[in-house]
Symmetry: C2
Subunit: 408 residues, 2 copies
């Protein structure tokens, strides 16, 4: 079946109107004409999910998660039925299936359940009858026979998991952008679409703020070797293929530059330089449910050190309050914060085998009078915290100097 | 359980806004405080179903019925989740369940499936845990594990069937009117709310144009002895109880007067008076899918007779075309029609044991110079077709002379 079956996923913006739904159906028609079998995963239409959340918020600020899943899962059911009708209108055989009809079993939590097993008996049966199967994304059924939603990026996960369970040739993710770019084209018009990218690079980019796909779907795809093709629902251009090893004619060391302006920096001064101190601080912070991102601790001067870390701006207030409490507890000094920062990062699997990339990055920034406040590195990325006002410029000069705009 | 369990059904207008949903929850709270267990069946919010139908009509005029059921069933899922949240907000334990979770098995048709079996295992389990169970009305699951909707009045049917399956004390149908009236209060301000009415009278009234409940739910209730209480969701007044035998202090022969102005009359003149002729005509008409209501054939004069019948105005055109074809085929004369007619009817189980009711009706109409064009009787009703302009007056004089406005 592998060579004949394709899983396609249409996100909310790609099914936001009847017109868009009809377009998705026309695309399916062109695939059907080429002899492909299709399983199409759909999100809810446009703002449907937000509208449903708004209804619930008129009742309570803390809706029961099980009931919330009952409510939200209707959005995908609506779009799946409408797409099936559109396919039928074109003369194609089609059927819509909910998560529970598709055999997508989830764990017993609500709002962000993980998929634990897919038993796509019904899907396979309908495919055998030459039907295009439209599956509601973002949802499964748990052991209590309750509907459970899969959380943010859940429809992508549904698609990738179905592609694996059905041994599909490829999983196409249709979105409103043309693919993955070397950097954000709104910041750097010379940004180029990347033809192929590895799971690891994509994961790194997702964690650094690129918003095309959630990390969990990519992690799943990496684990089970599902090839993903991210592309636009608005045209027929090829997008970006995400796979284990990109095969490029000319391998570039750096694949992309990312910018994240949604973080704030907190610094705790004069932290006693003793074992277990960092653990104490971050335990306190995580107890408050605050996610800490980059952490930098400088080499100790005398018996104290400064500890800096970043959090998302939305969590800054809570993080500050907890940090001050923790600082007090361990006898540290003042706590400062700065929300006018940006994180600029370069990503590329080539870094694994190339040295000197970090120093080149620092040099480029220095040549442009951009001061670096914090540095953090992973195996395939380097991130610098800089002042927010330099964010855009940093992206442009790095994109240019690492040759991203001209290569490919 | 019988004395402790009540099934309530809230129609579309009773859950048309978050405010109304909260009101339904408050009502449940007052029942819970009295120690009742509740199963609440909900329709879709206000115009939701129409909005979903509109979406599908932008795709096709002939949507696949299975997909239509997938689409429409989401409306009740939304309102069930929102009501469950509202109940929880009031501190009550509650859970929403879909038709398939509630074990409502339907036949394998779509759009107007009949319920074939209810296995309310999950509902009973949740009731045992002292939860109020909110069930999506209007839907079940068929043998293919597909969602099937139950057609017009489907939520009433869900409620009545669940009341039977769960052996509930009573099935309360909440609506936007205070109950069943002796006649339409918009026509006769002296109309009174009926405290108790029999299934048979209610069935007769439904078939004569009263729109409070569909005949199928009443038939089901009659068959299985489910007591129904039709009442308003906007106040706490008792409504009308529908049961096998009304127990009134003072039994009235006539219970209600109804008026139906949605029909037209067709007359085929000079129909040959031979066996099988009527069958030929009505077979032709029913082949076209036209529903014929009242049929009157006069005693033959010479060798031909006139045949009159009524159809709904929406089907008049098709009925006329077919009638003319049929008249031609059997050698009958001209075909006339009149759409300015009204059907006024009196209904009452007391007619079974009282004679002279028909002549009294005719006399009342004659005294008021209202000419009768057609007459039709059933065991517990008498209907007269009159000119439309006399419809309102006929209702008023009959209501008055049969003593409906002053009794009770």
């Amino acid at each position: 079946m592998r060579n004949k079956l394709i899983v396609q996923k249409f996100g909310g913006s790609s099914v936001s109107s009847i017109e868009r739904i009809k377009n998705a159906a026309l695309r399916a028609l062109s695939y059907a004409k080429k002899g492909y079998k299709l399983v199409i995963v759909v999100s809810a239409m446009g703002d449907t999910t937000d509208e449903l959340i708004d209804l619930s918020s008129q009742i309570t600020k803390n809706p029961n998660p099980r009931e919330m899943d009952m409510l939200l899962s209707t959005g995908e059911q609506v779009s799946s039925a409408l797409l099936a009708m559109s396919l039928q209108k074109l003369g194609l055989k089609a059927i819509s299936l909910t998560g529970w009809q598709s055999g997508i079993a989830s764990e017993d939590v609500h709002g962000k359940a993980r998929i634990i097993k897919i038993t796509p008996k019904r899907i396979e049966e309908e495919l055998k009858h030459n039907k295009i199967v439209v599956v509601t994304g973002f949802q499964g059924i748990n052991s209590k026979e309750d509907i459970a939603t899969l959380g943010r990026g859940g429809s992508d996960l549904s698609a990738v998991a179905l592609a694996y369970a059905l041994d599909a040739k490829i999983c196409e993710i249709y979105t409103d952008v043309n693919g993955i770019y070397t950097t954000d084209p709104r910041i750097e018009p010379k940004a180029k679409k990347i033809k192929q990218i590895t799971y690891d690079e994509m994961l790194e980019m997702a964690s650094l703020g690129a918003q095309v796909m959630q990390a969990r779907s990519i992690l799943f795809a990496k684990k089970f070797g599902v090839t993903i093709h991210v592309r636009s629902s608005l045209n027929k251009k090829a997008g970006t293929v995400i796979l284990r090893e990109a095969k490029m004619l000319e391998e570039s060391v750096v694949s992309a530059v990312t910018l994240n302006q949604s973080e704030a920096k907190i610094t705790i001064c004069d932290v006693p330089d003793k074992p277990g101190i960092a653990a104490t601080i971050f335990k306190e912070i995580s107890k408050e449910g605050v996610n800490v991102d980059m952490i930098v601790q400088n080499v100790s001067r005398a018996s104290t050190t400064d500890l800096s870390f970043t959090v998302s701006k939305g969590e800054l207030k809570r993080a500050l309050r907890t940090s001050r409490k923790a600082a007090n507890k361990i006898g540290a000094g003042k706590v400062f914060f700065d929300s006018d920062i940006a994180r600029v990062s370069i990503v590329g699997v080539g870094m694994r085998s190339h040295s000197g990339i970090a120093s080149k990055m620092f040099e480029i920034l220095a040549d442009n009078n951009i001061n670096i406040e914090m540095i953090s590195t992973s195996e395939i990325s380097i991130s610098c915290i800089i002042q927010k006002k330099f964010g855009k410029k940093a992206v442009q000069v790095l994109h240019d100097k690492f040759g991203l705009g001209v290569k490919q």
